[in-house]
Amino acid sequence: MLRENQRHFKFDWITIILFLLLLGFGYFNIMSASHVGEITSYFDTDQLYGKHLVFIGLTFFLIVLILSFEAKFYEQFASVIYLVAMLALIGLFIFGKDVNGARSWYGIGSMTIQPSEFAKFATALAVAKYISDLQTNMTTIKDQLRVAAIIFIPALLILLQNDAGSTIVYLAFFFVFYREGLQQVYLVIALSLIILAVLGLKFGVVITAIAATTVLTLVYFIRKKKRGSLLQYLVVLIVSVTFSYGVKLFYEHGLKAHQQNRISLWLRLEKDPSKLERMKKVEAYNLIQSEQAISSGGVSGKGFLQGTRTTGKFVPEQHTDYIFSTVGEEWGFVGTSAVVLLFVLLIVRVLYLAEAQKSQFSRVYGYGVASILFIHFTINIGMVMGLIPTVGIPLPFFSYGGSGLWGFTILLFIFVKLDSNKINEW
């Protein structure tokens, strides 16, 4: 066959081009957000953007390395890679270094490495490996519990290191499980829980209970044939209300003050104006600055290196988690919508390729890649624009930092390699 002759070069160039566009555009924005004083050269390694350029250079070595392994390697060694990643996370408790209150870094000389960034692709590999096993059946409780354990271990380790943001990322695997056969009822339950939590926080338990009763009554009358007993409905109602109340209790007593305030700001729970004013100055400072930077960009932006709020370093952490606000200020609506579009295209492309895989391992892994990219994209950009509460996770390929960049690159390019090999699958 014709395709067989070309198999070594059958990488999906669309994915690679989208990746390169994001990487390149990200670099220019890091330059804007991080430069101190005059820009004398694009390769000034005294400046953060110069360092990032080194990271980008190393990324290309990494890509060549990843693509040069046999595709089978990743499937065969998935468990080993997962194990190594978990050990690396555990090792943090002994050898780790505290940065901003989170113990998620190894310090090697002047460099720091964040293993949680690498745990993501390792977990995706392990999940793919487990699900693609012939004996696995995602509709059984036993396998559901086991696969849940695979993601629960890194999630717990990362949470214990005080990095709640990265923990949330593991929720992404829900999409993978659902695609691979998890029952519909889980989706219904997941959505219900989210709605119950938000309703409970925003309007209180009483209104939530009334809403739940109304919905359940409606369901009862709509389902004429398989109604079930009234007792079942009552149990669901009690569980719902208890959950909603539990969330409220957790919000009030289980969360740290800053987490509580972020949710309070997002749902506009604070009514005391003086307290709200103080929260706006402290907890919402980043968000307000970031929103102002974005909206000051207007339609076409102020131009590369011309952003006054970026130059004045008004948005803290602008080169890492808040990098999107630089795009907003300097490139305007044109730039921001282009970035959103690039991400959507990349994720959709990965999804499309995943569905086209012949091996289940590749498909599940591809799904994992798309899900992880999606959750980062949604949370990061959503947070920078104030649509969701502040959660500190990076924007893939865009934010400053070696670990993040390499973690995402490995994640994506293992899939590119798997995809290029699909013709060899039987």
Partner: protein
């Protein structure tokens, strides 16, 4: 279905993000404005404000530097008590003051500068300047304040005040703390006087620290100095007018009819313009503004709308001639008033009768003008039409509407027309007999002193006037052509001569013969206007207003003047004397009728003004006695020379 969940979610999130971005960046976003960008510090460089000179080149308003000690609390280095002691001595404050002021400034903002001790004296500044470097966090800010070289003409010159929020919203030129003209010439010529401030754009960071010039300073501008202006006021005449107006309420407006230039613009009571400079401005301004009895900030020459009284008769004479309803020689009988059937519509005083136009004006006969006025209104079958034609003529003298000139305040006065009475009485349900008061300038007619001065200027010019204005010259500019283009009245030139002759005879043989000035041919007209006030909701008559209008000399007049003295009784008593003195002062430069001058300076109306507020019944007009004062101001002791503002007390 399972394949679609993530796909649809991704696309949905993408759409939500684009919608949110559209809202933030396109919909909710006005065009980028560097002035609203708080990442850019705007440092203003204020230009010198233009000086104001009078028509003879005398400097009236200049600038003075003012030195404020400012503090940035965060940058204040810890001082030991000896150093603080020294600093307090330099600033002439106590240790408690020091602590209190520093606490107040810290409370306002630890990072931003606050005034610590405003407006140091020049002496204190000189000493402090050497030593301020020792005290970190403190610095001296130089500002510029107005320096009045005179203490007259507060209503003419106006004052500067800090712009309020509304001004800033309407005019982006101003920022908080900027000064702008609030009244007088400072207000009307604000843009000319202020110049354009220079601006430096500085990029700052989120700690409010300067990083460097924004865009290498390419957007920065240099200040453009304000232009000096020369005003038409003759400061000597203005000062003399203010002297005459002492102890009285009213207004004097004198105009040069050949150009429309305002020579003097007096309001009484007035105040010293130096009161509205510097640290005490707000307190003093409130004091003046809240004085609701004397109303010193109310310019009676420009804003007070009075019934013009008899001076308005000459307008009716002119309209009568123009409308061809009366001849110069036609005589009317006066039986101590005008009778409609057996009803007396208006009274009159004793004089010869019957009387022609010249006599009518000279003797100020009410009956004569009621006759003329009724003929004008009744010329057509429809009184409304007659009134409209009458109003049109009157308005051509600049009455009944804003003069539309360069004074910061003004009032339109009132000239009623047919529509006005249709609204009052109903369509066609009135006739000339209802409204005869207009014939003698009472009734519904109202005018401000400046309108009356302009009216006599038009008569003196025999049919035209220049819009009265105060600007004479702006450095390097020509003044607005509307002040150099004559405005013609609707009355033909030949009708003026008999009327002017009548006004001349007012001085020769009429109501003003005792105030004649030897050597000057003055044409004038007395006026006495009844007026009322509500005291405890009872309409009570007060002593008549004394009114006088005049121009001189008779041919090619150099001055047209209107004088209005509230509750001064008959026209010749206060207003006439003052008008004559002003005319003599302007034309001769000195006063020969010192008897008139002394009478004015020694007579006060202050007791008269207290009457309505005394709560007791009082007598008016001829039945009351006139207050005489012993310690009166004269030109010698009335301070019009330079005066240091620190000597001024409210």
């Amino acid at each position: 279905m399972r394949k679609l969940l993530l796909l649809t979610t991704v696309i949905l999130v993408g759409l939500v993000f684009i919608a949110r971005l559209f809202y933030l960046q396109v919909y909710d976003n006005t065009a980028y404005n560097i002035f609203e960008d708080n990442a850019i510090r705007k440092v203003y460089n204020y230009p010198k404000r233009g000086y104001v000179y009078d028509r003879n080149g005398k400097l009236l308003v200049a600038n003075q530097p003012s030195y404020d000690v400012m503090v940035i609390p965060r940058e204040v280095a810890p001082l030991d008590s000896l150093e603080i002691e020294e600093f307090c001595q330099l600033l002439k404050i106590t240790r408690e003051d020091y602590d209190k002021k520093l606490e107040k400034a810290t409370h306002y903002s630890p990072r931003l500068p606050s005034p610590f001790v405003p407006q140091l004296s020049k002496k204190d500044y000189a000493v402090l300047q050497e030593k301020i470097r020792k005290f970190e966090g403190f610095y001296i800010l130089k500002r510029s304040l107005r320096s009045y070289q005179t203490n007259i003409g507060a209503n003419v010159l106006g004052d500067l005040g800090e712009v309020n929020r509304k001004t800033i919203e309407n005019d982006p030129y101003y920022t908080l703390g900027d000064l702008a003209g609030k009244q007088g010439i400072e207000k009307t010529y604000e843009e000319t006087l202020r110049g354009v401030k220079g601006i430096k754009f500085i990029q700052k960071d989120r700690f409010n620290k300067n990083i460097g010039p924004f865009k290498e300073g390419t957007l920065d501008t240099l200040p453009q100095p304000g232009k000096d202006v020369t005003i038409t006021i003759d400061s000597d005449l203005q000062a003399y007018g203010e002297l005459l107006m002492k102890h009285k309420r009213g207004g004097i407006v004198a105009i040069d009819p050949s150009s429309g230039e305002i020579l003097a613009m007096v309001t009484g009571p007035s105040y010293n313009p130096n009161l509205l400079v510097g640290r005490e401005r707000n307190k003093n301004f409130s004091g003046l503004f809240l004085d609701k009895v004397n109303k010193p900030t109310f310019d009676r020459g420009l804003q007070a709308q009075y019934a013009p009284g008899s001076p308005f008769k000459v307008i009716n004479a002119l309209i009568g001639l123009q409308e061809n309803v009366v001849t110069v020689d036609e005589r009317f009988t006066c039986r101590m008033g005008y009778y409609y059937g057996s009803r007396r519509l208006t009274g009159c005083h004793h004089h010869r009768s019957p009387i022609d136009m010249n006599g009518g004006i000279a003797q100020s006969c009410n009956a004569y003008f009621v006759n003329v006025y009724r003929r004008i209104v009744d010329k057509y079958d429809d009184a409304g039409k007659g009134m409209n034609i009458w109003a049109n003529h009157a308005k051509s003298f600049g009455l009944g509407n804003f003069l539309n000139n360069d004074l910061s305040v003004g009032q339109p006065g009132r000239i009623p027309d047919g529509d006005y009475y249709d609204r009052q009485y109903g369509d066609n349900r009135w006739g000339s007999t209802y409204i005869v008061s207009n014939a003698i300038g009472q009734g519904e007619v109202e005018a401000t002193p400046i309108q009356l001065a302009n009216m006599v200027a038009a008569i003196g010019n025999r049919g035209y006037y220049y819009t009265p204005h105060i600007i004479k010259n702006i450095e390097g500019e020509t003044i607005d052509s509307k002040y150099t283009t004559p405005k013609y009245t609707t009355i033909d030139k030949e009708h003026f001569e008999p009327v002017v002759q009548g006004m001349f005879d007012v001085y020769n043989e009429g109501t003003a013969k005792h105030i004649r000035i030897p050597g000057i041919d003055i044409c004038g007209k007395t006026g006495t206007a009844e007026n009322f006030m509500k005291i405890d909701s009872v309409k009570t008559q007060l002593t008549d207003h004394s009114i006088f209008v005049a121009f001189a000399p008779k041919d090619n007049p150099k001055i047209a003047i209107a004088v209005f003295v509230e509750n001064g009784y008959w026209g010749g008593r206060f207003a006439g004397r003052m008008a004559s003195l002003m005319i003599e002062k302007h034309i001769k430069g000195h006063i020969t009728r010192t008897d008139l001058e002394k009478w004015i300076l020694t007579h006060s109306l202050e007791d008269e003004y207290k009457k309505p507020y005394s709560g007791e019944p009082f007598k008016i007009n001829g039945e009351s006695t006139l207050q005489v004062i012993e310690n009166y101001a004269t030109e010698e002791n009335y301070p019009i020379k330079n005066q240091n503002q620190s000597d001024v007390k409210l």
